[in-house]
Symmetry: C2
Subunit: 155 residues, 2 copies
DNA sequence: TGATAGGCCGCAAATATTCCTGAATATTCA
DNA sequence: TGAATATTCAGGAATATTTGCGGCCTATCA
């Protein structure tokens, strides 16, 4: 099956990435299809992998996680894989990207406060043999933070 | 109402941020409560704001968005607010953080390819009067990318 | 023009959610 | 301490949603 995606599919995805609990009836109405047709679409999109999962978005503040930080990492080639495996295993690490440029990796962290960041750095990051250098970036204020992608459904 | 959160609340949140469509029955079973009690919890967590929303996680590749990039921005104070407002209005911009350190902002972008990144830079970023300098960081490989936070429910 | 496949619709059964009541347990205050 | 008040939980009925199925329509292709 060739995963062609038409405007209706995109609109469905657009709606669901904003409001994941939209009922099939509402969804059907929004895209102008019958309930069962809309449902078929959603099921197909999940099967195709375009919809990768469903999740509740939690409020970090409610869980005492007030600090978002980024960390640039310089890793030696030796032990790099082990370091990556160790880092991604921690829930404080939300993202870990291998990047272009003078640094090896960019890591996104979500922790309670600067104290917790310091603790994470000391307990987890620095002990890794591959870690040559780190540079921490604290977010002071967040203007936008979403995982939503540009589906292009509004045309 | 003081939003006290006990272990059961945390476990519920932990489950739902992994699998947002878990049925109340499953949820109830997982935390050892009756269906209605588990449901009450979820409703309360939503009302409190601990659960901020529900969403389908989409696969960027399926929508032709193969490139994740970060951009460090140096903005002049003059026109900063307008630049921020303009940037966050674009769906390609997933995140925009005001950060500590020598740069003003860190922006996360999701676009089709380097060509699209270049186009965004030329069409959207550079024309902003407040933009003094930019530094683009391309992600070569992503070891982890999640919005899940450390709920601390596994204790 | 006839066969076939894909998408859509509507209905009915199965399942899930919501709402209500009452009992048990904590908490507050005199 | 003891009574009054709140919370939290459980069960069940009413409501809503999801799922599965059969059939219709349309586009495609030989």
């Amino acid at each position: 099956m060739i995963p062609i995606m038409d405007d209706i599919d995109r609109k469905i995805c657009s709606i669901l990435q904003e409001a994941g609990r939209t009922s099939s009836a509402e969804l059907a109405e929004a895209v102008g299809l019958s309930l069962s047709a809309a449902n078929d679409r959603v099921r197909r999109l999940v099967a195709q992998g375009a919809i990768a999962g469903w999740q509740a978005r939690l409020d970090p503040q409610s869980f005492g996680l007030g600090l978002c930080a980024f960390m640039l990492l310089d890793l030696s080639f030796d032990g790099e894989a082990e370091a990556v495996a160790e880092l991604v295993s921690h829930p404080e690490v939300q993202e870990l990207h291998h990047i272009s440029g003078p640094h090896s990796y960019l890591m996104k962290l979500r922790v309670a406060d600067t104290r917790a960041l310091q603790a994470f750095l000391t307990r987890v990051v620095k002990p890794l043999p591959a870690v040559l250098r780190t540079e921490s970036i604290i977010t002071l204020d967040t203007a936008k933070e979403t995982a939503a992608i540009a589906v292009g459904a509004d045309r």
